[in-house]
């Protein structure tokens, strides 16, 4: 009998934790999402009226921010992939003795606070930073263009902040590739590019899928980058939820938006995994 009980005992702490701090709050959230203010006033008190049209109202009111969230998150994910893939490839296949050192460098930013790093980007992209004057000198941006409080700054901040989440899974999957399969590809008449397209890339797909999910999901719900590096014109859905909860004290709308965001992400992720077909891979 012990044999059968042991796995359940091992599951117990995790399950208890998730039940208390995830299942219960989310049920509470679901409940809140269909409430309406007591007496139609703005006292901050709400009662359950099962008003499901909260969802429709919340969505229609914030279509723009929803759209922006997914556009920003997609661009940031693609940028992070474009930067992280060559990086992970170089560390895994050419890193040699420096492999571990370079991996530490990849996660080194985590040693300082997320907020602090984002604030630092404000300075980097600000008038006093080196980026703006340089770009002006070489004529990429005009004299009166600024970079802070733009969607560019928000996307850059997100790309930077989520880069390690992209790099580490990519590294793990590229590092697992047997270098002899790459040699075999060259031996079988494939040039460097064909070897990458036919062997390296397909074999690293688990890392690409994991990395893009780990970047896209938090990026779509992020509000810190838009808050610090953006302007009212770059508000993402995370900013709306934050202000509904903490500033406007409109709990039902905030809850409905949270659920909508969750469902949309879930649908997108499911479609993506189906399309990428990771279960086909070893």
């Amino acid at each position: 009998m012990r044999k059968i009980r042991t796995p359940y005992l091992l599951l117990l702490p995790g399950f208890a934790f998730l039940f208390t701090f995830f299942i219960l709050p989310i049920m509470n959230l679901a409940q809140t999402s269909t409430q309406t203010p007591v007496g139609g006033g703005d006292t901050g008190e709400f009662e359950q009226t099962l008003r499901f049209s909260n969802y429709l109202d919340a969505f229609l009111e914030n279509r723009e921010q929803f759209g922006r969230s997914f556009v920003y998150a997609t661009i940031a994910t693609l940028l992070a992939l474009a930067i992280a893939y060559p990086l992970a490839y170089a560390i895994a296949l050419k890193g040699g003795k420096l492999k571990n050192f370079m991996l530490i460098l990849v996660i080194a930013p985590f040693f300082t606070s997320f907020l602090l790093r984002t604030v630092a980007w404000k300075q980097i992209l600000g008038e006093e930073g080196f980026v703006v004057p340089t770009l002006r000198t070489i004529g990429i941006i005009s004299e009166n263009t600024t970079l802070t409080s733009t969607s560019f700054a928000v996307v850059m901040g997100m790309t930077y902040n989520f880069l390690p989440f992209m790099t580490l899974p990519l590294y793990a999957s590229i590092d697992r590739i047997d270098p002899r399969t790459l040699e075999a590809s060259g031996d079988l008449y494939a040039n460097g590019f064909t070897t990458f397209r036919r062997v390296t890339l397909p074999l690293s797909m688990p890392g690409v899928v994991a990395g893009t999910l780990l970047t896209f999901i938090p990026a779509a719900g992020d509000y810190v980058n838009a808050e610090i590096l953006g302007s009212p014109n770059t508000k993402m859905i995370g900013n709306v939820i934050e202000s509904r909860y903490l500033t406007i004290v409109d709990y039902p709308t905030a809850a409905a938006l949270s659920f909508t965001l969750m469902v949309v992400i879930l649908i997108l992720v499911t479609l993506y995994i189906r399309k990428a077909g990771t279960e086909e891979l070893v």
């Binding site: 399969t181 040699e183 075999a184 031996d187 079988l188 008449y189 494939a190 064909t194």
Partner: protein
């Protein structure tokens, strides 16, 4: 793909090939011609430079010095994908994300061959695994993966097929079977095979010509029978099979033979099988060439008297004796068990005799134990 190197064919010529890694020289001034259509083996212990040589031929390593020609074409610096050479890798290196069919079709597709399906089907039939076309490599056994790796290479009809310890991961029985199959396939497709191995029995079973390598150089090259019957160095004598090397001095000549003085006894050694450079010589005799006889029994040929049987091991087809000679050396003697029972027992006093033509002579200043260290990999198998 349009480069002329891809259509090169003919004999493979390695000229003064050297590969160094810092202070370490893996391959040292190696020159070699491998004739088109032959089954050639590079044989040697691990670290002798045989795999490095193979990788330079494949284009996976660039030689420090020297050149590689295929026929008239210099391919020394040609990229692997532009050489008409395919490799069967040591651990097969099949593409795990592709089916067996796509693994085999890989090289054909890269070269834009038209009828991929017919070629793949034909080679799958040759290796007798047509039913596995739609499987993934991880669903195959080691022996099956080995055959697919071979099929993936030979389907391209390369001018040269390189085999890097291709049977190393198989168990002994499967390896014996694959040795015979490989040999048969080589004859069937008529390609030049260059086979790297540390297993002397494997090299002797399959190759037309064997080059024995040691410390980055070729010790001796020849047919399996040449190397076995007339080794030039102690390393070859010990690495290919086993040898008894008896220290002696050339004391005279008798026609085509040297007379060699061995601890006071005289034996005869054909001059054309002697590689000694002065009077100091090792007389070499393979254990199965010896005959044991009781004292007083008439014998012919070379005779060494005063043997004392130290140990007898019966191993079925033969019996192995350790015979201690008056000068303290223990000689190894293999007698076929073709007369029923082991006729000699421990502690018997015996003479040892053999036909003089089976004697070979090595330089007297050699290390008689070179190449005889037991290879741990081989211990596992037996």
């Amino acid at each position: 793909m349009t480069k002329e190197s891809i259509t090169a064919k003919g004999d493979l010529r390695l000229t003064r090939l050297t590969k160094s890694y810092g202070d370490f020289t893996a391959v040292d001034d190696l020159s070699l011609v491998i004739p088109e259509g032959s089954f050639f083996a590079l044989l040697g212990p691990s670290g002798c430079g045989k795999t490095t040589t193979l990788r330079m031929i494949a284009g996976l390593e660039e030689p420090t010095v020297g050149s590689i020609h295929l026929g008239a074409t210099d391919i020394t610096t040609t990229k692997p994908c532009q050489r008409p050479i395919n490799t069967v890798f040591q651990n097969y290196a099949l593409f795990p994300h592709l089916t067996i069919y796509e693994n085999i079709a890989f090289g054909l597709r890269r070269r834009g061959i038209k009828d991929v399906e017919a070629a793949v089907d034909k080679v799958l039939a040759l290796v007798e695994l047509p039913h596995l076309a739609q499987r993934k490599p991880t669903q195959l056994s080691g022996g099956q993966q080995q055959r697919i790796a071979l099929a993936r290479a030979i389907v391209n009809r390369p001018a040269l097929l390189l085999l890097d310890e291709p049977l190393g991961a198989l168990d002994l029985k499967l390896r014996r079977q694959m040795q015979i199959e490989l040999k048969w396939i080589q004859k069937e497709v008529g390609l030049t095979f260059v086979h790297v191995t540390h297993d002397q029995e494997e090299a002797m079973t399959m190759a037309d010509t064997i080059a024995v390598m040691n410390e980055g150089q070729i010790e001796q090259m020849g047919s399996p029978a040449d190397l076995y019957d007339n080794p030039k160095t102690a390393f070859v004598a010990n690495f290919l099979g086993q040898s008894n090397l008896i220290k002696g001095t050339i004391s005279g000549n008798d026609g085509d033979s040297h007379i060699v003085d061995v601890f006071g006894q005289k034996i005869s050694l054909p001059k054309n099988r002697s590689h000694a450079i002065d009077n100091s010589i090792y007389a070499g005799i393979r254990p199965e060439k010896f005959r044991i006889s009781r004292l007083g029994t008439p014998t012919s040929g070379n005779i060494l008297t005063g043997g004392h049987i130290e140990d007898v091991s019966y191993i079925g087809v033969s019996t192995q004796y350790q015979v201690e000679m008056p000068w303290g050396q223990e000689l190894m003697v293999f007698e076929q068990n073709d007369d029923g029972v082991a006729p000699f027992s421990k502690d018997e006093e015996v003479n040892i005799s053999w036909e003089p033509i089976f004697t070979f002579g090595l330089r007297g200043d050699e290390d008689a134990t070179a190449g005889s260290e037991v290879n741990p990999e081989e211990l596992d198998e037996e």
